[in-house]
């Protein structure tokens, strides 16, 4: 679009509103330039530090590259992607990541919804209650993971509590059967606060008149929830589910600290494998290919989630 021309949308908006006359061309141009200057720093940041690295990562995924080697990356075509098809560790990491997402996502969304419904009612201390539930979200995942590492240790809080009830010590993070579940429990606790706040905002955006009308029509609590709350909450629910899929699929810090991908690879998520491939083995080409396959899967599942939730609404 030329900066010298008046955008049709702007003209029609002003004309339709009829509140003020169109801006003189010179003033419009100056506003346009000022606006662009305001946006420029952020645009440059996004372009330089987000867009360019992503594109460079995509390029690297078609190369054999180690930063230690002199000279640039060697183009290898689809070799890295083909290698992933037969890599059992990558297959295992995808399964672990999928299991991790499917364990954490429904539980955290369900509990967050219950908590949001709970704190949506006025009662004494509701502010403190909301803050307490949100607290885990503002603490760094690394710090939280370190605390939970201690809680899960043999002499940690979890076993001490179990001992009070006569149960024996469990090796939460050392047993392949329980390690991923233990990490998932921590992640559920961590994700609850932000999900709850988002869903609470969604609940408060539902017009109260709808509930009043429903009650007048004789709807019970379940009917109000089923036919007013859930449909009204759907846009926010879609957002929460999609964002959770994106974040959980990239689980790394908690795995790095709690289990380092073990035992027996039972907690090796794709992101942890990417870290190992890139920063332990210096194979940036293969690591980039892993990252872009994960990227594609995240997009795919996110779109699927949006379509299934929004589609139902239609």
């Amino acid at each position: 679009m030329s900066v010298n021309s008046v955008p049709p949308a702007a003209t029609s908006t002003v004309a339709a509103g009829g509140a003020r006359p169109p801006l003189p061309r010179r003033r419009w141009k100056r506003q346009h330039v000022v606006g662009m200057l305001f946006v420029l720093p952020a645009a440059l940041y996004v372009l330089t530090f987000q867009f360019v690295p992503v594109i460079y990562g995509l390029v690297l995924s078609f190369t054999d590259y180690t930063p230690l080697r002199r000279g640039g990356p060697d183009f290898v075509g689809l070799e890295n992607y083909a290698g992933l098809l037969t890599d059992p560790e990558y297959g295992n990491a995808l399964l672990v990541t999928g299991r991790y997402v499917l364990t954490v996502l429904p539980i955290t969304v369900a509990i967050a919804l219950i908590l949001a419904l709970l704190v949506n009612r006025p009662f004494r201390g509701v502010g403190i209650f909301r803050s307490a539930l949100y607290l885990p979200h503002i603490v760094s995942l690394t710090s939280v993971s370190l605390v939970w590492l201690w809680m899960y240790s043999q002499n940690g809080l979890v076993n001490e509590v179990l001992n009070l009830f006569g149960a024996t010590d469990q090796l939460w993070l050392l047993d392949p059967e329980s390690a991923l579940n233990a990490a998932s429990a921590m992640r559920i606790w961590k994700a609850l606060g932000s999900n709850m706040v988002l869903l609470l905002a969604g609940l408060q955006s539902i017009p109260n008149e709808l509930y009043e009308a429903g009650r007048v029509d004789g709807a019970g609590r379940w009917a109000l929830f089923r036919y007013i709350t859930l449909p009204g909450l759907r846009p926010m629910l879609v957002y929460v589910v999609v964002m959770d899929i994106i974040y959980l699929s990239q689980g790394f810090a908690e795995i790095f600290i709690l289990t380092r991908g073990g035992p027996l690879g039972s907690t090796t998520t794709v992101n942890y494998l990417i870290y190992t491939e890139a920063f332990q083995y210096n194979d940036f080409g293969s690591a980039s290919a892993m990252a872009f396959v994960l990227f594609a899967l995240i997009i795919g599942f996110s779109v699927l989630s949006v379509r299934s939730l929004v589609g139902r609404q239609k």
Partner: protein
């Protein structure tokens, strides 16, 4: 005072020049540091040290830095980098051309840097050392070589030995003054020392060997060497652990943790990196544990009331010598792209000089690299260090080959499967062998 020259003749020339200058000027020029006369004035040397040990940071960035700068007239820019970030930052530095002139790293990382031409060979520099110096450092030097070329100059030695609680030995009817001399005897002692609760769960392990990631490979390597086997062939081209010795070592290792007569618990727990006060020996949840010299010293400091002793490296029956993982510890490496290589070597030479080396290892509580240091008060006053120095010939390093980190992790994966009973020792080693051969081949 240490003189930073590459050869005795150069040193003589510098000395002659210095003497001439004193005579000609008739002033007190002799009071100036000798190395400052070699043209390092105004140069800056960037050095990265690994780790976050505050004692080491204070020592290196304080008195050691000041002394070096006074002697050379150069500026020393020292940065300590957390071990976990070191490789990442070095990789980025090399890719961007901003890597430090000198950096510290462990021997396991050297080969990958060397094969990519990132490191300056130190052989010519070392040839300039006096023969007495080379002889004094002879135990440490091999750990810093790749393909026979010296790339890393170790600053301390590493080792692992079993530390045992003498009181537990006496309680179990064992003689703490006559500790086991073979792994089979260690196992027997461990069975006598193991304590279980009513449910049969071990509450005090008779013996704990590291079984966490990386620790598994290190424990296996020690057992394998003590059984007479080796991880790689002598030319470092292929794996050699899938052998009768390897099976014996791995079966022994797995038997510690599995079965009704297990003597170790829990599998996979990282006791090595736990704080001293949380160590199994201190908590009385183990009677014998494998420890590093630093670890042993810290445990003794945390629990001075315990009568802790150190066992010599033991072999399996029928094998002459026992080995544990060790040898050269982290050391200094010279960047091949450095524009101040001579100053870089001057710093390395400074750090390995008898006086500074002693000050450094004493500061970090490490084992000295110089044989002559065995006679110092630092070693003589420490039973722990004496034991580790006495066993220094029984410390075996991991192979310095390209792709070693990946080899180690691949082997670790199969060892974990065997330890967890997913597969047998023989099958685990047989499955690991071709994968590791493939990694070694592609890394060359």
């Amino acid at each position: 005072m240490k003189v930073f020259t590459r050869s005795a003749s150069a040193r003589a020339a510098v000395g002659l020049a210095a003497a001439s200058a004193i005579v000609l000027s008739g002033c007190a020029a002799a009071a100036e540091p000798e190395a400052a006369q070699e043209g390092f004035e105004g140069q800056t040397l960037t050095v990265w040290f690994p780790g976050t040990n505050q004692v080491e940071i204070d020592l290196v960035t304080g008195p050691l830095k000041d002394k070096f700068e006074a002697e050379t007239g150069a500026t020393l820019d020292v940065t300590f980098v957390d071990w976990g970030d070191l490789s990442t930052k070095l990789n980025a530095g090399f890719a961007a051309g901003t890597a430090p002139d000198v950096f510290g790293h462990g021997p396991a990382a050297v080969a990958d840097f060397a094969i990519n031409g990132r490191l300056e060979p130190l052989d010519d520099y070392i040839a300039g050392l006096e023969q007495d110096d080379i002889d004094d450092l002879s135990a440490a030097l091999p750990g810093g070589t790749v393909g026979g070329v010296q790339y890393l100059m170790p600053l301390s030695m590493q080792g692992n030995l079993i530390v045992y609680d003498a009181a537990d030995f006496e309680e179990a009817g064992l003689d703490p003054d006559a500790p086991p001399t073979t792994w089979e005897e260690v196992r027997e002692a461990a069975e006598a020392l193991t304590v279980r609760d009513a449910s049969g769960t071990i509450t005090r392990s008779g013996l704990l060997l590291p079984s966490q990631p990386i620790g598994r490979q290190q424990s296996f390597a020690a057992l394998l060497a003590s059984a007479g086997g080796s991880q790689l062939t002598s030319d470092d081209l292929e794996s050699a652990f899938a052998s009768p010795e390897g099976e014996k070592a791995l079966e022994f290792y797995t038997s510690l943790f599995s079965g009704d007569d297990a003597v170790s618990y829990p599998l996979g727990a990282d006791y090595i990196n736990a704080p001293a006060a949380q160590q199994p020996l201190v908590l009385d949840t183990a009677s014998m544990t494998m420890q590093t010299p630093n670890g042993a010293n810290q445990i003794i400091a945390a629990a001075p009331e315990l009568d802790l002793r150190i066992m010599d490296a033991v072999p399996f029956e029928g094998v002459d010598e026992g080995y544990t993982l060790g040898g050269s510890g982290p050391g200094l490496i010279l960047n091949a792209d450095s524009e101040v290589k001579d100053l870089g070597w001057a710093f390395i030479e400074y750090m390995i000089s008898p006086e500074i080396s002693a000050e450094y290892v004493q500061g970090i509580g490490g084992v000295p690299t110089r044989a002559s240091a065995a006679d110092t008060d630092y070693v003589q006053n420490s039973p722990v260090l004496q034991a580790f120095v006495a066993n220094s010939s029984n410390f075996l390093p991991n192979p310095n080959v390209p792709g070693w980190v990946q080899v180690r992790d691949a082997l670790d994966k199969y060892l974990e499967q065997a330890l967890n009973g997913v597969t047998s020792a023989a099958d685990a080693l047989a499955a690991a062998s071709p994968e590791i051969d493939s990694i070694l081949e592609s890394a060359r």
